[in-house]
């Protein structure tokens, strides 16, 4: 079975928030973002002079804590690994918001129902990629199949960010630095 997940290229991410705003344009509503940019101190420079950024939304966990928490059984995991909320079943109790260890679920003030990243399920069904991936100007975001052996070498966590591992989040980080490009000659 597939398990789709986000691959974040840490060294590429500029923290420009294009992914956040494109997601908001596509699905969003006022005062709420499905996707958030996190900024952290760099591992090599703990003095705070250097930061890295990464973008995170729902991690479509392999073992999603929100799914059994929902009393209505409104949260399901599709065969491609995407965790979705059935809006028709959701009663808006907000239990899933508490249980999600990544704060990925928010209450939509307009519908009073839970709302989270569905990895642009409708776009994917049309053969398109997610809006955040297509909006990233530096290609710092990618959708990958976590279960594919060729993706086994990516990191499961990132320095400085506490990841709850019990849910086995389907997010991977790529930290390798690209070679510095010199545009001038001595």
């Amino acid at each position: 079975m597939k398990q789709l997940g986000f691959l974040v290229h840490i060294e590429k991410c500029l923290g420009c928030r294009s992914c956040e705003f494109s997601c908001k344009n596509e699905h969003g509503h006022e005062d709420s973002f499905r996707r958030n940019i996190h900024s952290l101190e760099d591992e090599d420079n703990k003095m705070g002079h250097s930061f890295h950024h990464f973008s995170m939304a729902c991690n479509h966990c392999e073992n999603p804590a929100c799914m059994p928490a929902c009393p209505e059984g409104a949260i399901k995991k599709k065969p491609n690994g995407i965790v979705m909320i059935d809006k028709a079943k959701c009663s808006g109790c907000g239990k899933c918001v508490i249980f999600c260890p990544f704060d990925a679920i928010k209450m939509n003030p307009l519908t009073a129902k839970a709302d989270k990243c569905d990895m642009c399920y409708d776009r994917q069904m049309q053969g398109k990629t997610t809006i955040c991936v297509s909006a990233c100007p530096v290609k710092a975001l990618e959708i990958i199949d976590i279960n594919d052996p060729k993706n086994a070498d990516y990191d499961k966590s990132i320095y400085g960010f506490e990841m709850k591992k019990i849910t086995n989040p389907s997010i991977r980080f790529h930290k390798k630095k690209e070679d510095i490009q010199h545009f001038w000659c001595r």
Binding site: M67, P68, K76, F99, D103, E162, K164, I166
Partner: protein, 524 residues
């Protein structure tokens, strides 16, 4: 000269019904005659299917120049079995076809003879492939194998790619064939280019044809080399039937794959809340004989290699077979399948038990499975997590999540247990749902000072505290583990109490430190 076995490979004779005397299929003839009186050389006798000719069959068969008889016509006449026995005793084939015109039959045989004389009989063999494909569509694999056995006059065995007898074989194998197949399965098969290879054992020589489609090996056909058989004709007949057999086996394989993937998808949907209704669950389950009207419970098994044995293969199928036999001894039915590197067991039970009894029954079963698996596989460490029982089978996804959490949180227990129920994992169950930053904050506030002191002064306060809790507050046992005198430990504990601002005689304080130590393990 044509043999009767050759003409039966060509249309329309390929559709002929073999009435008897097929042991003499190697008989050859030079001419086709309508009447036996004027025979002067080996002939195939062509007779109209009428009552009078049938009554004269024994007389025709007794003529030494008659090599075989071909009856033609559409009349539905009964041929007495004694006449066929006569054909068998003379070893002269009697064939029956539905053609009406004897001249056209003669012409077709003359054409075959001509093709053979100029070395183009290969075209006839090639045309026979479409006959086998058509026969496969009409009568399936058993029908094709049966017809092939009739043509070759002996039992042809179909083997799968692992040298196991295919279920399509209708006739049982002889003891010699069984022994040969067993020896073949024990040695690697190397031949990939030739159409067949010769293998032999005490029971005789055999031709082993391999069924290969591109790079994929589909199986084998085993044919015994009998004395006097026309080996080249038999080989041609089999080689031209092979495409039809391969197409059937490929189709069968595709159906199996589709069935397997559909089953996997159904089980995935069941465990990840993708099914719409209980009725749908019951109906879909029926396809595989699973009765989801019964009470179900779930457990998840994780197998890890022991650190002493980092290498080696694990035969998951054998483990699952073992589990199945253990479960079937005590429960109605079970679904056992691998998912995400774990083995999931869904057990069907009678609804007569209370939830407490159901839990006890599952714990007993899980302990038995754990004991058996660890006993039979020394290199494997087996852990089992159990979820709670829910009244509706639609809630199995909750049970699955709980079983996985029980497995995962078992790592943070101070007492090692290989079988863990979600209800028994204690405070870790609550902590697993608290955000990591909150946990971190709590831990820092409770034990942060102690860690700083340990780092600065090279002290062992943290080690002492952990050992004290691991031994349930027993001074003597803790001192023994730390290789210090109990009074030294008492002194250290007093110091710890003053640093942490707690009293180890107060339950609330003890719990506060216990939770912080648990969080430490979780955050690690």
């Amino acid at each position: 000269m044509l043999t009767i076995q050759e003409i039966i490979s060509a249309p329309p004779f390929i559709h002929a019904e073999i009435m008897g005397g097929w042991e003499g299929k190697e008989r050859s003839f030079s001419i086709v005659q309508n009447h036996s009186i004027s025979l002067e050389e080996p002939s195939l006798l062509l007779l109209a299917k009428t009552q009078s000719t049938i009554m004269q069959l024994p007389e025709y068969l007794s003529n030494q120049d008659v090599q075989g008889i071909l009856l033609y016509g559409n009349d539905d006449l009964l041929i007495p079995t004694t006449f066929m026995e006569t054909a068998d005793s003379y070893k002269k084939p009697v064939l029956m076809i539905n053609e009406q015109n004897p001249e056209s039959i003669k012409q077709k045989i003359a054409d075959l003879k001509h093709l053979k004389s100029i070395g183009l009989f290969q075209y006839i063999w090639e045309r026979s492939t479409s006959y086998w494909l058509q026969l496969m569509n009409e009568r399936g694999l058993p029908g094709l194998l049966q017809r092939l056995c009739v043509f070759l006059g002996q039992n042809v065995l179909l083997l799968d790619e692992d040298f196991q007898f295919h279920s399509g074989n209708e006739s049982p194998a002889t003891s010699g064939q069984v022994a040969l197949v067993k020896s073949l399965s024990n040695q690697p098969y190397k031949n990939k280019k030739e159409a067949f290879k010769i293998v032999e054992n005490e029971s005789g020589r055999y031709l082993l044809f391999h069924l290969q489609s591109g790079e994929k090996r589909c199986g084998f056909i085993l044919l015994q080399e009998l004395p006097g058989m026309m080996i080249d004709i038999c080989i041609e007949q089999i080689i031209h039937a092979i495409p039809a057999i391969i197409s059937y086996l490929m189709k069968e394989d595709a159906v199996k794959q589709a069935h397997r993937s559909y089953k996997e998808l159904f089980l995935y949907n069941l465990l990840y809340n993708n099914l719409e209704s209980e009725n749908g669950l019951i109906q879909q389950g029926k396809q595989w004989g699973w009765d989801f009207t019964k009470t179900t419970q779930l457990m998840v098994m994780r197998l890890d290699r022991k650190t002493d044995f980092p290498n080696g293969n694990v035969d998951l199928d054998a483990i699952m077979r073992k589990i199945r036999s253990l479960i079937s001894a005590a429960f109605l039915q079970a679904i056992i399948f691998p998912i995400q590197g774990n083995i999931v067991m869904i057990v069907f039970d009678t609804p007569d038990h209370t939830p407490k009894e159901l839990k006890e029954r599952m714990l007993v079963l899980a302990n038995r499975i754990h004991k058996e698996i660890e006993h039979s596989l020394d290199t494997i460490e087996c852990q089992i997590g159990l979820g709670r029982h829910y009244p509706s089978n639609m809630q199995l996804f909750r049970s699955f999540y709980e079983a996985k959490v029980a497995l995962e949180l078992g790592k943070y227990e101070s007492r090692h247990r290989s079988v863990r129920h979600f209800e028994d994992i204690g405070i870790a169950r609550l902590l697993s749902n608290v955000h990591n930053d909150l946990l971190h904050e709590y831990f820092e506030a409770t034990l942060g000072e102690l860690i700083v002191l340990d780092e600065e002064n090279d002290d062992f306060y943290m080690v002492t505290l952990e050992a004290f809790y691991n031994h349930n507050g027993d001074i003597n046992q803790t001192a023994e583990q730390l290789y210090i005198h109990p009074n030294t430990l008492r002194k250290r504990l007093k110091k710890l109490e003053s640093i942490l601002n707690v009293d180890f005689n107060q339950m609330e304080d003890m719990l506060k430190i216990f939770v912080a130590l648990k969080i430490r393990k979780i955050l690690k």
